[in-house]
Amino acid sequence: MSVVGREYKRRLRFFYLTLLFSSILFVFTLIISLTIGSAGIGVEWIARWLMFRLGFANGNSINANILAIVDLRLTRTLTAFIIGVMLGVSGVILQACSRNPLADPFILGLSSGALTFLAIAMLISPALVYLRPIAITIAFIGALAGLTLTLMLFEATGGTSTSLILSGIAVSTMFGGLSLILSYIVYAKYKTHIIIYTLGSVNLATRSDLTVMVVVLSIGIILALLLSKPLNALIYGDEYAQQLGYSPRKIIRYGSIIASFLTGTAVAFTGIIGFIGLIVPHITRFIVGHDHRLVIPASIFIGGLILCYADLIVRLVAITGFGEIPIGAITSILGGPFLAYLIVRNLKA
């Protein structure tokens, strides 16, 4: 066996082990998250609930209240997982396209762009936002608008790594303020809390929303995987990708569309949850390396699990009687210091 062949096989083996380990962790996390909440439910009841749902037991074996609570928690946990994946995969694509380790859907203005467009749509007619496919489309266009604006500013400012982040901050701050004002107008007009969107909550989605999210996510992941080889070429330089027969402009365009589609959908269902897209690519690359054919599948688990645990923190805080804090606040507390660490590491080097 050759040296390169051994290294290649070793890497793939480690990748499969990572997937195996994270799926086990996922099942474990799912069970824990079903038991935790304002009403503590034992694992034994979770088992009974599972038997009932799988059709192995009849309705006498389980209390109707517990059934409803576990159902709700399942929806919530799966929502957290899926949104985590969407934001994580978006982050992976954005960091590769920009070759910038600080890129993230929140920092580059995608999230607040999507929210602003949703708020405008809501002012035109609330029905637009309640029809999920329409809401997703509007949020997608908003995210794309935010990213495009950032990229235009980035081009105009000379195209350095720092100017990308500063351009993103300018755009996301602007859209952030705009969406906040709009949310107050929406509240005054319809007495509806779109404001909760500004800091995100995985509590808003329903079971039927889950189906839509799974469809969007599947499409997004397939497209991202198709782009993984071009991304692998692009990260070493535009000319390098070009001499391999790729068009850097096309890769960036497709990448922007996929990231906006995923981030827009995430915002349409749960509002703005920042920093997941920043943290997930770093952790994933730390574990599986820099081949996007491996990074994208692995980031599914990493992204999903991180947001599941952020949601668990929200619920644990809720138990203590402080009420339901937004999950976006938790991810900001975790992500802020991480961003600070990345800035120090990158600017020092």
Binding site: S2, V3, R99, Y236, E239, G245
Partner: protein, 260 residues
Amino acid sequence: MVKIKVKDVTVTYGSIRALEDVTFELKEGEVTGIIGPNGAGKTTLLKTLARLLKPVKGVIYINGRNLWSLKPSEKAKIIAYQGPEEPQWSHAKVLDYMLTARYPHTRGFMESYRDIEKIEESLKIVHALHLASRRLNQLSSGELQRILIARLLAQEAKIILVDEPTSHLDLYYQLEILQLLKNITRNKRLVTVITLHDLQLASMYCDKLILLNRGAVEAIGKPDEVLTPENIAKTYNVEVEVIRHPHGRLLIIPLKLRKT
């Protein structure tokens, strides 16, 4: 047989003419050096051969086929280009980088056995097999340059274009890299084109030289035909003495700046 025919090629940057009516032919098994003073169009010519720049006039034929009529993936199998920039995203490992060089050939989503074998062979040729699992940013300049050449080999292109392969290298590595390029060009019957600043090195390792002056070909031919005191004085504005060493090598000794 690989043959490149460049005919009346003119390249412009906006209103500036970077190359004007450049015509020459290259054949396999030879290392061709593009020389000339700063701004003469060395890099522009190399990029035009790599299809990174499109001529406004003239044609480049690869084995009789117009370079611009090839599909991008087809082109990538025939021409490999290495610019003066180091690969970005330097946290990646040498293996990650090498795998991407096989993409024009890799049919499926993952690499075939042949792709892996080819990478192994390429790293072996440049004596860098032990670097496969290193990160790019952990390599010395000499090691990195060897990896860049291994990448060109792994891409299995018949035409290899390298911009300044010896910059940032000390004397030992300058000679090592040029010798390496010369050997693979001979053994694999490649068409290799490099740009060089050092005339001494150019005379030692190139089979053919193209001397550019303000975007036009001033002289073309064997090193001792091109590197004459007249040609160098005219293009570089430096008066030199060219001595033929008893061992057959040319010695180029700068004397003074020419009055302009």
